[in-house]
Amino acid sequence: MGRLKSHDVLGLREMTPEEMTLILDTAESMKEIIGREIKKVPTLRGRTVVTLFYEPSTRTRTSFELAGKYMSADTVNIATATSAVVKGETLKDTARTLEMMGTDVLIMRHPVSGSCHLLARVVDCPVVNAGDGMHEHPSQGLLDLFTIRQKKGRIAGLRVAIVGDIQHSRVARSNIWGLTRLGAQVTVAGPSTLLPPQAEAMGVKVTSRVDEALEGADVVNVLRLQLERQKGGLFPSIREYSRAFGVNRERLSRARPDVLLMHPGPMNRGVEISSEVADSAHSSIEEQVTNGVAVRMAILYLLLGGGEAA
């Protein structure tokens, strides 16, 4: 196995197809570890992994923590609500403090786009972006790629529809870069008020007609709708959104019969996705969660261990 050329994992736009493939390949062996009865390898023993979360999170934070633990790293989780941040400490000072305690990798989620870039400038240890504002969520993008590759055997040439609030979604952006770099044909769909301008220039098709996006799709990735967007006037009501843009059985029937249905979670059942399809055989939503741990193990391994056998 090789090593990542990058010092940090800040976004898939900055990552080469070779690096992405290396992470996905590495995640295959990691997934095997998660399937064992004793889910522990000594790979990162003596290494310290710190998660620093400025936004609430269950799955991503836990996923990174378990990824570290399964490889015997020491993991520390900091939720800013209970940290010195509430005393007014700046990101820079918090980060430096953590690094001085011997942190080997910092994993951060932050509501402001670009904050992981700032973090990477102020610390020497590798930084992993666990979601920054509306910018990127690279580990989610990679776990989605991993899931698609596992279920479809390839990524190149697949037709992938990403449906929902594209504008505010870091998952959408990371998926777009990852999928297009690896050769998929991507269509993004959602209400025009939730489509960012000039998204076509990112190399995707853009439409407000969900039916059109789903037509013949191999993969449908449904994004979470943040319900508070409605108050900002971006769409009139949850009801109208669900009727016009929600993915349900009827809509999904336009896709290929073997369509793979994905959702990064947490779901608003009955809003952007109907329970019928979320719980159907097409759905890989639960498997995505397991794959998330495997991909994050691969990221930590390649950033910290690299070279040694897993």
């Binding site: 670009g114 870091r170 000039q198």
Partner: protein, 423 residues
């Protein structure tokens, strides 16, 4: 003291002068002839009227940790400026005669160049009640502006233009519809899409430009538009000028040499965050065209010093704005004039005669009898922008590390040498 600046290329756009000649400073005036006490060899140099900045945030009183009148005017002198117009968004706001007089006195006591000030349009810049404009004129206010905040109320703006007309003073408008700008952090377009930063559409500016132009037309008042950033704004101003509306306009150096892509290439560096935001290449082209055809009258720095603590934070938490006094000449000469995008004459006009006309000043020319404000620029001097060497207290500039060509080497304000970088 009589100082002879010998053998330089004199560019005095107000008089259509561009020739090698001598300039004699005699006390506080430019003189025709006389015997000098000191001679400066200006061969190979540009000799231009002292530069005038229509848009400087001096930060004093209230924010002296960012800049004060002493450091800000020193920065101006280094950059070749001999007159700057201070904005009123200080703490307290410059919204009454006593404050105006305080700033002007402080300028005389601690400033090294001529310091002018605006008075606020509204009390406390709250956009509610008209400030005492007449009293402030008597105290010496050169213009009025709530800059930093748009005047949201159309009626208040109408009254301000109409009222200020009695003294023929311009109202300087910061054109921004806050309902459209929202929580925006950069230009709305491809780069805001890629970077996931909230976008500010151009119409947030142009909607207010259109309103204010029509209010100027309605009232006959004098309107000056601050820091225009969009193509459509330039078109609107050009059309209004053609119809005889009394309007002038300025553009900043950063809106002329950077585009919104800088937020990406500088990797979310908060020194790319400004208001109005950096725009598209097409907008930059239109702004340059506006300077060339006279739709835009002046290049103004919008010098906005911020402490590192206000900038070295997450992008959305950083305060908008950058310093500009010490980089403008180098940027304009090397990035616009040397590259053939702007003529030297147009560039110098926009830094001298243009802004002088906006404020109705008798500076901005080297005609004998004029105030002795002269700037000597070495157009061939190569230098690297090193913010740690700024005279300004603040270092917030996206141009750090840029290799520039052209720098003010001698600045004379009111007959006194206030910057001597020849040695």
């Amino acid at each position: 003291m009589k100082l002879l600046i010998r053998g330089g290329r004199v560019i005095d756009p107000g008089r259509a002068v561009d020739q090698v000649m001598d300039v004699l400073v005699d006390g506080e005036r430019i003189a025709k002839d006389g015997t000098p006490d000191r001679v400066v060899d200006a061969r190979g140099m540009l000799v231009v009227p002292g530069l005038i900045d229509l848009h400087t945030h001096m930060r004093e009183p209230g924010f002296e940790y960012k800049e004060d009148i002493a450091s800000g005017t020193r920065a101006a002198a280094r950059g070749g400026y001999t007159t700057v117009l201070a904005m009123a968004n200080t703490q307290p706001v410059i919204d009454n005669r006593a404050s105006v007089e305080w700033v002007l006195n402080a300028g005389r006591e601690r400033g090294v160049i001529r310091l002018l000030t605006v008075g606020a349009v509204s009390k406390g810049q709250k956009g509610e009640e008209l400030a005492e404009l007449g009293d402030m004129v008597e105290g010496g206010a050169a213009a009025f502006s709530d800059d930093g905040h748009p005047v949201a109320s159309g009626e208040l703006m109408r009254c301000a233009l109409l009222y200020a007309r009695m003294w023929d003073k311009p109202v300087i408008a910061h054109c921004e519809d806050r309902s459209l700008a929202g929580e925006g952090l950069m230009n709305l377009g491809y780069w805001s899409t890629v970077l996931g930063l909230r976008g500010i559409p151009w119409v947030a500016e142009t909607a207010m430009v259109a309103r204010d132009l029509q209010l100027a037309e309605l009232t006959g008042g004098r309107l000056h538009l601050a820091h225009l950033s969009c193509a459509r704004s330039v078109e609107l101003v050009r059309e209004a000028k053609a119809r005889g509306v009394r309007v002038t306009a300025e553009v900043t150096p950063h809106h002329l040499v950077l585009t919104d892509e800088a937020v990406d290439t500088c990797r979310f560096d908060t020194d790319t965050r400004m208001n109005p935001p950096l725009r598209s290449p097409a907008d930059v082209e239109s702004l340059l065209e506006g300077l060339r055809d006279g739709a835009i009258d002046a290049i103004a720095t919008d010098h906005a010093p911020h402490h590192l603590d206000d900038k070295d934070v997450e992008y959305a938490y950083a305060l908008p704005g950058i310093v500009g006094l010490e980089t403008t000449v180098g940027l304009i000469l090397s990035r616009l004039v040397d590259t053939g995008r702007l003529s030297l004459e147009t560039a110098i006009r926009a830094l001298t005669a243009g802004p002088a006309r906006v404020l109705g000043l008798d500076q901005g020319t080297l005609a004998p009898g004029s105030p002795a404000d002269v700037t000597v620029i070495d157009p061939a001097r190569e230098w690297i922008v090193d913010p740690s060497r700024f005279a300004s207290k603040s270092r917030n500039t996206p141009f750090k590390g840029w290799q520039l060509r052209g720098q003010a080497t001698l600045t004379i304000a009111a007959g006194k040498v206030v910057h001597d970088g020849i040695a």
